[in-house]
């Protein structure tokens, strides 16, 4: 290779290595902050590594799977509570899993259902019974990357019914 080209190659390669090193350090330093949400176990036990837990009264996002059987809807209005547990593969639920309750008032996203991934934005509150819960102002659905036609989903025994609202519940919306 021509010496001038060799010199330019060295310069370009060292710029690239330098930039990736810097970006790697920045991402490593920010790794806790780049996460969009806390998982239920991170709220209780703290993040892996730093062990940082959110403070009571802090606005945070929580992400997890809606625990089957935990969704309680008020028949008269749009108030709803449900429990979230950590997302893990394959999806399993156990009574001993760490769970955090979420309180919300409003229309839930169409993809909201038991077993579905949910990201809720709200305030971390210490309830009177000494239990942590989230008073959410926004609930978003996090779907997975698997797509399939209805027949396959039926064959796999997937539950995909949308929530229905009664007129009474909708009338009492503030």
């Amino acid at each position: 290779m021509h010496p001038r080209r060799k010199k330019r190659l060295t310069i370009v390669a060292s710029i690239l290595i330098g930039i990736s090193f810097v970006a790697g350090l920045v991402l490593y330093a920010l790794s806790q902050n780049i996460d969009l949400f806390y998982t239920p176990s991170e709220i209780t036990l703290g993040k892996d590594g730093s062990g940082a837990t959110p403070e009571i009264g802090q606005r945070i996002r929580i992400g997890g799977l809606v625990v089957p059987g935990s969704v309680k809807r008020d028949p008269d209005n749009l108030k709803v509570t449900f429990k979230l547990s950590d997302m893990k593969m394959p999806i399993t639920f156990d009574e001993n899993d760490l769970m955090i309750s979420v309180y919300y008032e409003g229309i839930l996203p169409d993809l909201f259902r038991e077993g579905q991934g949910i990201v809720a934005n709200g305030t971390l509150v210490l309830g009177s019974s000494g239990e942590l819960h989230i008073e959410a102002s926004e609930v978003l659905a996090k779907h997975d990357e698997n797509y399939m036609p209805t027949e396959l989903a039926d064959a796999a025994g997937k539950d995909y019914k949308k929530l229905e609202y009664t007129n009474k519940q909708l009338e009492n919306k503030n």
Binding site: R5, I15, D35
Partner: protein
């Protein structure tokens, strides 16, 4: 080893070669895109929980992966131009930048339109969405630098350095959904491993993806040719070409 490539470093040879490629690329683009889009939008089965909204996948995913693919192509061109000072590489990088920016914008807009009905929000500052937005800004920066200097070689150098610095964003976009927790779901179709969708949904995607990729090829070739002409306008072969064209135009008008 690279001797066979040398004739293509000549702008005139490249100009005529791309001129011969364009009709093939555009015919294949029309074929693949029409089969792919009709299949995807009208005949592919709807998703069990997202219904027909899922079909935006067939535009969103090809646009997003091509936005990264074009950037990689641009970075390779910038690298060869910086090390070997190969002028045509600058012309090809300048030809690719606006196409990449448009595909990034398409990915962001279709993603937003998909996010509202499914997630419940148009936008969220999670790692995937933010890094893709940074990709759009990188493209805009590269386009601006290509046009900021009178001297094309200097412009190519400045834009090339920005392109190479921005290359670090590509792995961040790709692995953002694995490294951090995000609202955006993981990859359905990746280069390794089994796709997470049924076969009758996958085939229309393959056609759509190839169709969009060929569309990128066609547009980049057309833009590359005009970049060659702009950068070589004082060369005799370009002048001869222009003269020939104006003579044939005059002949048409005088008929």
């Amino acid at each position: 080893m690279w001797k066979w490539l040398h004739p293509y470093a000549n702008p005139e040879v490249s100009y005529h070669l791309t001129g011969r490629i364009i009709p093939w690329f555009s015919a294949l683009t029309i074929l693949f895109l029409s089969i792919g889009l009709i299949w995807a939008l009208a005949f592919a089965p709807a998703d069990y929980q997202q219904g027909d909204s899922f079909r935006i996948f067939y535009i969103h995913v090809p646009a997003a992966s091509l936005s990264m693919g074009i950037y990689l192509g641009m970075a390779i061109a910038a690298f060869t131009s910086l090390v070997w000072q190969f002028k045509l590489a600058d012309a090809s990088a300048a030809a690719m930048a606006p196409v990449g920016a448009i595909f990034t914008a398409i990915a962001l807009i279709t993603g937003s339109a998909w996010g509202k009905p499914m997630w419940g929000t148009w936008w969220i500052w999670d790692a995937r969405l933010t890094s893709e937005l940074i990709l759009l800004f990188l493209y805009l920066g590269v386009i601006a630098l290509h046009n900021a200097f009178e001297d094309k070689a200097l412009a190519g150098k400045a834009a090339g350095i920005l392109t190479l610095v921005g290359v670090i964003n590509l792995p961040i976009i790709k692995y953002s959904v694995e490294w951090w927790n995000t609202l955006h779901q993981g990859s359905t179709v990746s280069n390794l491993g089994k796709p997470s969708m049924s076969v009758e949904m996958l085939w229309p995607f393959v056609f759509c993806f190839l169709g969009f990729a060929l569309l990128v090829g066609t547009i980049v070739c057309i833009r590359f040719r005009s970049e060659i002409l702009i950068r070589n306008s004082i060369r005799p072969w370009v002048k001869a070409l222009a003269l020939e064209k104006s003579l044939s135009n005059n002949a048409l008008e005088n008929k």
